[in-house]
């Protein structure tokens, strides 16, 4: 199937540290279509960011993509030269990071940082680049962008900075934006604003979005599809409705169970026992089996990926019962 915008097959990304090999991304497969919003959830250290960096070709040493393939618009990315990577980044795919305080260079003005993003890919005049930057800032809801663009990052609040980062990502009209927990550091009200802007943008431009987060509730509101990561693997993926209402993997189930909310007020929350394992020298087999209530001896093998329906996959020997449900119509 070559119609996917992004098609990741069996991606492996390892960090070769002194303590041992960290298998941060351990054979994941994932697709994203045009205009689709994919939520990537998982606990800290499960490999979400590394997945994003792998797509961008930004895995820092001692890390390296060790195997698999990433196709973007049917073009294999992993065999690209440095120059091709440079042209690809920020042009076709943009990435936004978690901490808005750190992503902008504190000593350069916003305009410098935006204009250079355009001029790295296109030969346009400074004035033209400036005009487009102002436009992009306006798009993400920054008031009086013509003036504000002359500011330094520290003159903006966290939410504003994140908007600037998003606007910078939008400058070259990418087909895909990878947003790595862009609202985690922000207040609820500001998070709401950013989510709303992103939603509007995606609808308007038909841009695809990978939204990385550990917050299931955000995914619930924003994404159409969700992929759940655990210890470098995608253990379950499918349409949001489906996964949240009918989790198949015990981990997903546990995760949903541990979200506090009114429904279970005063009661004990569901508690996944134990802690996330170290990714160094992870024992073979299902990585979740040490914490899994359903684990049996078969789990000593790596579980296969079972496909239930188009895009509805789980990686477990003991999945929950699948109630075939019609996938929700995508809101568009």
């Amino acid at each position: 199937m070559s119609s996917h915008l992004l098609d990741i097959r069996n991606l492996q990304t390892n960090f070769y540290t002194r303590a041992g090999v960290v298998r941060a991304v351990n054979g994941i497969s994932l697709t994203v279509d045009k205009g689709e919003v994919l939520g990537l959830v998982g606990e800290s250290g499960s490999g979400k960011s590394v997945t994003g960096f792998s797509i961008m070709g930004l895995v820092d040493p001692p890390g390296r993509v060790a195997g698999g393939s990433i196709k973007f618009k049917d073009k294999e990315l992993l065999t690209q030269t440095d120059a091709e990577w440079r042209d690809f980044r920020g042009n076709h795919v943009a990435m936004i990071f978690q901490d808005p305080m750190m992503t902008l260079n504190p000593v350069l003005r916003i305009d410098t940082q935006m204009i250079e993003a355009i001029r790295a890919h296109e030969r346009v005049s400074k004035a033209e680049a400036m005009r487009r930057s102002v436009e992009a800032l306006g798009m993400v809801g920054i008031p009086s962008p013509e003036e504000r663009i002359k500011s330094y990052p520290h003159q903006f609040s966290g939410g504003m900075r994140q908007r600037v980062a998003i606007a910078t990502g939008l400058l070259n009209n990418p087909d895909l934006i990878i947003a790595d927990e862009p609202t985690t550091a922000l207040d609820v009200t500001i998070q709401g604003q950013i989510l709303s802007e992103m939603q509007k943008l995606c609808r308007k431009t038909d841009m695809a979005l990978i939204w990385i987060t550990h917050d299931l509730t955000v995914i619930a509101g924003l994404a159409q599809r969700v992929a759940v990561m655990y210890a470098g693997m995608i253990i379950e993926q499918g349409p949001v409705q489906d996964v949240l209402d009918n989790p198949l993997h015990p981990y997903t189930e546990g995760l949903i169970g541990s979200v506090p909310g009114r429904n279970r007020r005063g009661q004990k929350l569901y508690q996944i026992p134990g802690t996330t394992p170290s990714l160094i020298d992870l024992p073979p087999g299902c990585p979740f089996r040490m914490r899994c209530p359903r684990a049996t001896d078969v789990c000593l093998e790596v579980p296969p990926v079972t496909t239930y329906a188009e895009g509805r996959e789980v990686c477990c020997f003991h999945p929950g019962e699948y109630q075939s449900q019609p996938t929700t119509e995508r809101s568009s």
């Binding site: 609820v188 619930a220 541990s258 007020r265 004990k268």
Partner: protein, 333 residues
Amino acid sequence: MTDAATPFVRCENISRVFEKKLDFAGKMARSLGSNVREERVQAVDSVNLRIMPGEVVSLVGESGCGKSTLGRMICGILAQSEGKIFYKGKDVATMSVAEKLDYAINVQMIFQDPFASLNPRKRVRKIIGEAPLFHGLTTASELDEYLDGVMNQCGLDPSYKNRYPHQFSGGQRQRIGIARAMAVQPECLVCDESVAALDVSIQAQILNLFMELRENLNLTCLFISHDLGVVEHISDRIAVMYLGRIVESAPVDDLFDAPFHPYTQALLNEVPRLDKRGVDFSPLVGEIPSPLDPPTGCHFHPRCAHAMEICKQEVPQRREVAPGRWACCHLNG
């Protein structure tokens, strides 16, 4: 001695101002026409709050609105600039030294950052055991036993006593922080964003631990958080803060069912929920104003959909809008 009618802690119009005064040079510069000014942050602005024994009160609000400051004043690690704090009905300011110590020990704080809140150079034994030993809650010879008890209570393996904090995971560290507070047998915990830095699964563990402790020991809690989901789950009563003021306080169900203050309404509207799928986000507009330069009148008026002329001029008074529910809003006037 705590009868049900006396609040465990009661704050009466307490305020806290952080000021940076101008020094000699600054004053001189100002008289020469420079625009330097004294920086004055009213972090907490005449807040009234009562926490009944055994109650869990939550404090929610956006970043910088003064939640931590209020919490720290209640804990006694920060002095208030104005107002009074009553502990079990007694004004803290007029207490004797022994009573003050009793108060200080009885109200303990749990912190946000599981990394920064533990002294990296001390073993767990010392971290947890220092204070009970110092305050004579146990003796050096019985310390080990005492620690075992406390650590078990907080879900920590007592055999980890001789480890250093960096040898634990985030969740375990947070448990150590809780154990440290519990070791002095407090009656009240002030939890300042104590689960904010944790992963969901770990957060669930810690929240469960809180609830367990609370039930078993009948602890009183002030729970500071900006995560409404957590707050909803754990608390009896909620106080919503906006820029140093409590704008609304109500029992949890009432508040979630029928938020009164426009800010509370907006806030609740923002909360993403598992059961809200594919929503259209319709956010609260505007930035959080700078506490250095707060808006006049009702602090919320620039972002409020219902703002009236009076909101710009007058600070709305606290009124009981329903039994057990207070709010500060002119809509109510």
